[in-house]
Subunit: 134 residues, 4 copies
DNA sequence: GTGGTCTAGACCACA
DNA sequence: GTGGTCTAGACCACC
């Protein structure tokens, strides 16, 4: 459970938190019913406002990735039914298009881009599909 | 010159405009010294606020992708020197990471992702590096 | 005496306990002067914190539904005088409105809703008024 | 578009707002692409904090009931695909059970309850199914 | 101790 | 003008 916040990147802090939690869940670093750090705890570690952590937790709870038991803490939810194939495909294509637009703007070729992806994937310690979390 | 605006996608409208112009330039659909539609014209076609189009043009002018001749209109600038390699790499990696986070969340594996990219690239009619435009 | 606890439903656990005890009393599954399981016992069965069970018992004692004999345990109280008609009506209307809001959100029609209620009531094995318990 | 806030009822304010907007949409009082009052406007009318209104709007946006265009305002989304029958049924049954528990506690009989519902439904000006909104 | 809600006020980006 | 994010600090209910 190591999170990194980059406040200057334009990506909202609460979203950086949700993304990293999702990735940790999908890769199995966080297992079902495992307890996450408390709101106050995590806010101190990341040096951000407790409300910001709470917002991240709340959103993931509504997405079904986490569940909270007041007085007890926040926990990883059991794996959920996979989302419809079509919706899943649409979401990844939308994200992919954003990358391709940037690649075109920067003058990257297909081969160079794929090479870059394969390199980055290794750093992610990820190459097999994990359980979808949202 | 066919642009598509999706107001609800979270990506600012002015940025959707700049992205699509950049892509058109990089892929040769817009050639140097070619004239773009006037602010008023384009705003009517896309059904968006003229200020938004003006902002997109201004930004691209500042980036050196376009130039304006007062009273004549806005034109595509000549190809520019490529940006520093390090900055270029950082920008594409940042965009790439956002895609990978989404892919992990949705449970895509490396192979499935790369396959998807190759398929999408064909639809983009793009596989060779073009001149960088910003 | 079979209780079901659903920790994730948003309804506080102590309230789920009081609700189910009240319902059991009102439907005659628990009779006056019958002894309830001890706090420790029930907390083990339901896998919840003993404090939570204690709170439920204390609350029902305060409401006059249960009484405790120190050293002996907790017992079902004799039936009490009904609460004022106006207060009773206000409480059920408040609960009813919450249901109706949900029904409207989900697009249920009046008929469909009432049909559902009649079906559910049968499963509750309840169709005659029982003595009010709180 | 008349909203009523009851701060003392225990139901969170932001949820009272979301409920009333949902009901208005489902009953057709708010039509697709209709603009809602701005965050600041509504917060002044209801005498609550702008953040609270914003939270209500944000949640409904994520549920797909509303959409926002930064700089323009918040609008009613087009009707969405209905949710799966099973999920819909589960949600209404869960809400229904909460009502039945209260009814049993207060000693209401089936007939009395249904009579009450039919009476309340008339005040809601609602008896036909409307489009589901969440 | 835990999470949940609300208020207040600031700053930014968008149109 | 609009919505979006973040901080600060308060209060409450729950366990």
């Amino acid at each position: 459970m190591e999170f990194t916040i980059t406040p200057t990147t334009g990506i909202p802090i609460y979203q950086q938190v949700t993304d990293q939690i999702c990735a940790a869940v999908a890769r199995g670093h966080l297992k079902p019913d495992e307890r996450l750090p408390s709101v106050r705890e995590l806010s101190q570690v990341l040096v951000i406002n407790p409300n910001t952590v709470a917002r991240a937790y709340t959103e993931l709870e509504r997405e079904g990735v986490l569940y909270s038991r007041p007085g007890m803490g926040v926990f990883v939810a059991a794996l959920r039914a996979p989302m419809p194939k079509k919706a899943r495909r649409e979401r990844i294509l939308s994200a992919l298009d954003r990358l391709l637009v940037e690649a075109v703007r920067l003058g990257f070729g297909t081969d160079e881009l794929i090479e870059l992806i394969e390199e980055r994937v290794k750093q992610f310690q990820w190459n097999q599909p994990a359980a979808p979390v949202s």
